[in-house]
């Protein structure tokens, strides 16, 4: 059964870990820096995510789960609105010229229970994360790519065997440090899903109320936080009425709310853009809608002409214009969105062209029947495939794709199922064609670090959830492996550009379009919201970076006085 809460939770939860690298995608608030009255520390009411797990570092799920956890725990580095990773739990950070040695000194900080944070805690945390197995929905698990050495109580040294372009973000800026004296006694971290000890951290907030049945949580600022008393006094997370956060905010129930990840039209956004009471921020391409072909099934699905014909048959500009009223972009065949600094614009394009689609199908031996009905394959069987789509994906999109493919003679059996079942089919590679929402439960979005290309195009992906099923191009594999070990930005861009060109030619998966993220807020309550370039933590593209709650400002670590 599809319920509104399930839809919202799945859709936003699965996509919440989207990342964004582009500095320019970080649009500022439309209003002044802040209109919070002097002397008042605000309470901010945002949408709740209790269904995404207990907020310990090992039991949350998906992006919104990570940001709740990040209120209770700190990482060694953390970004502000510039996207630059700043020393956070660390007081200083330096990397060697070859990128192999990363040295950090810790601040004098204590855990909630009063014991000091030591380098040993950092070493323990890294070991704990990299030796235990977690659900793929735990999006902030650091990769095991370094060895670690401590010097005294405060100095940590990470040593990498090979340079890694994602190390700083994926390890230093993502891994929440946990107390060894607590977690060393917990063998199964998943079993501590309600243990209050599991929330002993260093973070700027404390969980003071949590009611899963009512789907709400409250976090209170920790006055003794090492950067100073957080500017935002209290964060209340509440369920939106009728699964509609924007309408709930308009009715006074929330202070900030996001538009739907599957896109919003100007008619929906207008009341917030035009009302001086509200501020708005947007960022390009936070989600994409890829069409996957299961190459393992062979036949037409493994035929490049068929796949290209499918993309030529769909008028994606019309989709962006009509369904999103322009609040999105046509998908790149190279996966990375135009808003991504690694985006390569000169990849093969597949504009809407039914004549070309028909020509490709004719060339592939898929013949039209004399009655003008669906085509037949060279072996005489009908050119018919099941297209699975998620019920979270707009029905108009499903209808447009269905009708577009039928128009060129491809018979589609459209099956609309819930996201969980869709992900199940994707994981088991038990599908013909499939349209899903990217990013899924984990990973960064189409504007994230280009390492996301590994999860889509590498023949040995970290998880089959996002991978182009059955795709194997050794040159693409080589380039993906090379780019992550390349610290020179221009050289890495060249490698990533080459990957995009190759996969756009092969087209094992076709991005239909990207949607823009939209966020509105009450300016008089709290104003300096922003989307973090590159995302915070593992690449979360939500405007919930804790830096802004703590400091009350968009940049730096200095706390604004109330």
């Amino acid at each position: 059964m599809t319920t509104p809460i399930a839809r919202r939770t799945l859709l936003k939860g699965m996509g919440g870990a989207a990342g964004a690298v582009l500095l320019s995608s970080c649009a500022g608030g439309t209003g002044r820096e802040t209109t919070t009255p002097p002397g008042v520390r605000p309470t901010v009411r945002v949408v709740s995510w209790t269904l995404l797990g207990f907020p310990s570092p090992f039991t949350y799920t998906a992006g919104p789960g990570y940001w709740r956890m990040s209120l209770l725990f700190d990482t060694l580095l953390w970004p502000d609105s510039t996207g630059k990773q700043m020393p956070w739990l660390a007081s200083s950070y330096k990397a060697s010229d070859d990128g192999l040695v990363h040295t950090l000194d810790l601040r004098d900080v204590t855990w909630d229970d009063g014991r000091p944070v030591t380098a040993r805690d950092v070493a323990f945390t890294y070991e704990y994360y990299t030796t235990k197995t977690f659900t793929p929905l735990l999006v902030g698990v650091p990769p095991k790519i370094a060895s670690l050495r401590t010097t005294g109580d405060k100095t940590i040294e990470f040593r990498l065997e090979r340079p890694n372009a994602t190390f700083v973000q994926k390890v230093l800026g993502t891994m929440p440090i946990v107390p060894e004296h607590v977690w060393s006694t917990i063998k199964d971290p998943m079993s501590a899903a309600s243990d209050p000890r599991a929330l002993i951290g260093t973070g700027p907030y404390k969980l003071v109320a949590r009611d899963e049945a009512q789907d709400n949580e409250s976090y209170e600022a920790r006055d003794g936080y090492f950067l100073g008393t957080p500017f935002v006094k209290r964060i209340e997370m509440l369920p939106p009425a009728n699964d509609d956060p924007l309408a709930t905010m308009k009715a006074g129930g929330l202070d900030a709310a996001a538009g739907p990840p599957d896109g919003a039209t100007n008619a929906v956004l207008g009341p917030f853009r035009d009302d001086p009471e509200y501020g708005t921020i947007t960022t390009d391409a936070s989600f994409s809608f890829p069409l996957y072909f299961n190459l393992n099934k062979g036949g037409a699905l493994a035929d490049l002409r068929f796949r290209r014909a499918c993309l030529h048959a769909i008028d994606r500009e019309d989709i962006v214009r009509r369904l999103l009223t322009g609040n999105g972009q046509v998908g790149s065949a190279g996966w990375l969105a135009p808003a991504n600094p690694f985006h390569e614009p000169k990849v093969r394009e597949y504009p809407f062209d039914r004549t070309e689609a028909e020509r490709l199908l004719d060339e592939g031996g898929y013949r039209r029947s004399s009655s003008g009905g669906p085509r037949t394959k060279p072996d005489g069987s009908p050119l018919r495939y099941v297209l699975h789509i998620s019920d979270s994906i707009p029905l108009p999109l499903a209808e447009i794709v269905n009708a577009s493919l039928k128009a060129v003679g491809i018979d589609v059996d459209l099956q609309r199922i819930d996201l969980v079942r869709l992900f199940g089919l994707k994981l088991s590679a038990n599908y013909d064609m499939l349209i899903t929402l990217y990013p899924g439960p984990a990973g960064a979005g189409p504007t994230g670090d280009p390492e996301i290309l590994r999860s889509v195009y590498h023949s040995k992906p970290p998880t089959p959830l996002s991978s182009a099923t059955g795709y194997n191009n050794p040159e693409v594999d080589r380039l993906i492996d090379a780019q992550v070990a390349t610290l020179d930005l221009e050289e890495r861009k060249r490698q990533v550009s080459q990957i995009q060109k190759l996969v756009a030619e092969d087209l094992p998966v076709a991005t239909l379009y990207y949607t823009n993220a939209f966020y509105a807020f009450r300016k008089k309550v709290f104003n300096p919201w922003y989307f973090t370039p590159g995302g915070f933590g593992p690449g979360i593209v939500e405007p919930y970076n804790k830096q802004v709650y703590i400091t009350g400002q968009k940049t730096g670590t200095q706390v604004r006085k109330a």
């Binding site: 919003a264 008619a267 009509r322 209808e399 447009i400 609309r416």
Partner: protein, 280 residues
């Protein structure tokens, strides 16, 4: 226009039949009545009512008025198929139990008891969620879960009829069970089954719409239930009076269809349900 004798003084029946007749007419002649294809998603979306689009267009650019007309056809298909299933299963079980008696009767009635005790709607939702959304699944489930009432009525009437002299005589002259069923029982049971099936038809309309509303119907079939869901979950539904040209007509059509079947059922019940007559 001359009113048939059997309709005179029975306004409820007349109104009910008029609604059902109109509904069937629209469903049968949908291809000629609808000005546009129901699933053409290439038009401008959210158009206001005009001479071209009487009720405007929906979120995909399809004509709302045409979808309203085609939706009646989906509903009629479900009603006809599900009601036929109920008729076949209900007759088979009821007649077998009533005529054979003994173990067959007891076994059949226990099965009926089990089905009548099941919480139908949650069960339908559960099974539909497992089986996947499709019109066939909706029809099968409605048919498979709404026959027990019909079977029980048929069985009780069969028990009464088989004691009648003409049945006993027929049997005495060597008539087999199939002959008795065909020649005597079915004609005698006809009116009461018809009245019962009208209720089943109304129930089918509501269940199909309910399942489609919950996203458990065929995603590409044009259905009033799924259109209601689509309209209600559309973030623009309160903007520019979209609800008035999309949500309200669909809801009215669905309500009218259910009311039509209900009125006919209510009008027929006193005539064919002895208990109902006694109550008056």
């Amino acid at each position: 226009m001359k009113v048939p004798a059997w309709l005179r003084g029975r306004p409820v029946l007349a109104v009910g039949l008029s609604i059902i007749g109109s509904f069937c007419f629209v469903a049968l002649f949908a291809p000629w009545l609808a000005p546009h294809p129901a699933t053409d998603p290439f038009g401008e979306n959210y158009q206001r009512p005009s001479a071209t689009h009487l009720l405007g267009t929906n979120d995909a650019g399809s004509d709302n008025f045409s979808r309203l007309i085609w939706g009646s056809r989906t509903t009629l298909i479900v009603v006809v198929c599900a009601t036929t299933m109920v008729l076949v299963i209900g007759l088979a079980v009821g007649l077998t139990a009533g005529l054979r008696g003994g173990f067959a009767d007891r076994a059949a009635m226990r099965v009926v008891d089990v089905f009548l005790g099941l919480p139908i709607l949650p069960l339908l939702i559960f099974i539909a969620a497992l089986a996947g959304p499709s019109l066939t699944v909706s029809i099968l489930m409605i048919g498979l879960f709404t026959w027990p009432q019909t079977a029980r009525i048929v069985r009780s009437q069969t028990l009464t009829l088989r004691q009648r002299g003409f049945i006993t005589s027929a049997r005495g002259f060597g008539a087999g069970p199939l002959y008795v069923i065909r020649r005597h029982l079915v004609p005698s049971l006809g009116p009461i089954i018809a009245a019962n099936l009208v209720f089943v038809a109304g129930l089918s309309v509501a269940i199909e719409a309910g399942l489609a509303f919950l996203g458990l119907g065929d995603p590409v079939a044009v259905s009033w239930g799924s259109d209601l869901n689509r309209a209600l979950t559309n973030p623009q539904i309160l903007i520019d009076l979209l609800w008035l040209r999309w949500l309200v007509p669909t809801g009215l059509a669905l309500t009218l269809a259910v009311v039509g079947f209900t009125l006919v059922g209510v009008a027929l019940e006193p005539q064919f349900n002895p208990r109902s007559n006694r109550a008056r």
